[in-house]
Amino acid sequence: MSDLERLVQLLSKLPGLGPRSGRRAALALLKRRETLLEPLAAALAAAARNIRACSECGNLDTTDPCSICADARRDPGLLCVVEDVADLWAIERTKSFAGRYHVLGGTLSAIDGVGPDELRIPKLVERARGAREVVIALNATVEGQTTAHYVAERLGETGASVTRLAHGVPVGGELDYLDEGTLAAALKARRPL
């Protein structure tokens, strides 16, 4: 496989891109060698070198534990469970959550071989034992809700109170797409699960 084919093939794997848009992206990069291709290559190399998943919460950062877990001002008794780092970012943008996170990195799927261990649920249970409240902020998709059901069940033994976002979140909705106001309101009005 040529370098160009390899580039197209890799770009096609990015979310939202297919073979056709992958080719278009590759051409756009090659046409803007100095302003796009080389800076992007450098940024990718730096990211590959420096960015790690936080061993505590699963967030992506250049330090481990991540800057959120290391921040002593954040309440360790309040945990927020999200599907993805993008959801963590969405909640951070609201500036209305002072606790810490647990990033699952996906949803349960027996067919894709994604089980509780892959989602780091044992770690979540361990962290929840020391917490006062766990907010489950999974997407309002079918998979998100099935996973929420499971997580709530597993947290039952920890003694932490388990809450979910208020239903400002539209059915089928993904947190990442919500505006900050709606998400902040859903967070504030969270209720027991």
Partner: protein
């Protein structure tokens, strides 16, 4: 109950039905059709108006292939239940595609569907934008078909009858397709967990909860539509017999015996209790995947005991009743794909069918080897000759 998710069926039945009924009835019709590398067609185009379309041509000309292409405008595997790649033209230069402009009460919509390289699932575009799933099609088109293969529908296993009923439900409740997909997915996930013997009870319970909520919604929709069709068939006249219909199964009985939330609890409990058995069988002991559509004639005789022609006439009666109901409730008759139907009916019934189709004002697609059989339709239909992968309007 733990877990988020609202109960999916409340308020979801017949969205917009009231408004649609106020408008004047219209039909769904395909005004443009383009087939690319689809079975015997390399590249074929057809323009049509709202009248019935008669496709005629010799055996192997491609008539059923064309109907199959149209059946892909609905969710599912089409009228042959083919595997996705099977429709790729043998020796063709790439995957197949079907594009259509469909006219309906809400104006024209451009639909595209087909296989895409590297994708396992059939891709769908609505007005140029990629849809998340095939279920999106049900919001725009409702397609119902009768094929010679369905002649055995009442004698075969329940699966085909369930799918037949589901297609009828799509017309009333477009979200039904999505719910069936979600239910099936949960059932497969559960089967996988049970097979691996992992048996994490909380995980199984989460999946069974989804199966219970969606399963009851599915059974409720089927029950409701079967009842409506049963009533609509009762008022039907003409040479087509009165068909009696009922959706039957464990979940349907739960719904007959008590409220839906109670039915959900019973399904949840039933699934939890059947885990060990299901691990052995690889299935699920109860749920709407085991339901059936029971059909009998006016005397109460099960359809399977009727003559071949009588069974066919019952099917036609159901499809016509469905189309009439659709026109009343949604303001549009469905697309009807009637493969070789004229050949199986006697002259009286054939004439009655043509009259019924014209009275419905439906775009029915009729096939036959002999155009003469359709002569009574005259100028009320458009005739297209099918030969060697080409479509020649007459």
């Amino acid at each position: 109950m733990a877990g988020g998710g609202e109960t999916p069926y409340i308020g979801a039945m017949f969205p917009g039905a009231a408004e649609a009924a106020l408008e004047s009835p219209a039909r769904l019709s395909v005004s443009r059709l383009a087939l690319t590398r689809f079975r015997s067609y390399d590249s074929a185009r057809l323009e049509a108006d709202g009248r019935p379309v008669v496709l005629f041509g010799e055996n192997g000309a491609g008539k059923t292939n064309l109907l199959e292409a149209l059946s892909f405008l609905a969710p599912g595997r089409g009228l042959r239940r083919a595997r996705l790649a099977e429709c790729d033209r043998v020796g063709g230069a790439g995957p197949w595609g079907v594009a259509a402009t469909v006219e309906g009460p809400r104006g024209p919509v451009r639909l595209g569907t087909g296989r895409e390289e590297g994708e396992e699932r059939r891709q769908v575009r609505v007005d140029g934008a990629a849809a998340k799933s095939q279920a999106a099609l049900a919001e725009h088109v409702n397609v119902v078909w009768l094929t010679p293969q369905m002649d055995g529908l009442f004698r075969e296993g329940a699966g085909n009858r369930r799918r037949f009923l589901d297609r009828l439900v799509f017309g009333f409740d477009p979200e039904h397709a999505q719910r069936v997909a979600i239910y099936d997915n949960a059932m497969r996930e559960r089967a996988r967990l049970l097979k691996e013997g992992a048996g994490d009870p909380a995980w199984l319970a989460a999946l069974e909860d989804r199966m219970a909520r969606y399963g009851v919604a599915i059974a409720a929709a089927r029950r409701d539509v079967a009842q409506r069709l049963d009533a609509a068939c009762a008022t039907a006249a003409g040479p087509f017999p009165r068909a009696r219909l009922a959706a039957a199964g464990t979940v349907e009985s739960f719904l007959a015996e008590g409220p839906a939330l109670e039915a959900e609890d019973r399904v949840r409990a039933g699934l939890a209790a059947s885990r060990r058995q299901d691990a052995e069988t690889g299935g699920a002991a109860l749920g709407p995947h085991r339901s059936d559509l029971l059909v009998s004639d006016a005397r109460g005789l099960p359809a399977a005991q009727g003559s071949t022609g009588e069974q066919k006439a019952l099917l036609v009666a159901i499809v016509l009743a469905h189309a009439r109901l659709q026109a009343q409730l949604r303001g549009a008759t469905p697309l009807l794909l009637l493969d070789e139907i004229a050949a199986h009916l006697d002259a009286t019934r054939r004439a009655a069918l043509f009259d019924a189709l014209l009275a419905l004002d439906a775009q029915a697609w009729l096939t036959g080897t002999d155009a003469a059989l359709f002569a009574p339709l005259g100028g009320a239909a458009q005739f297209v000759r099918v030969a060697d992968g080409t479509l020649i309007p007459q």
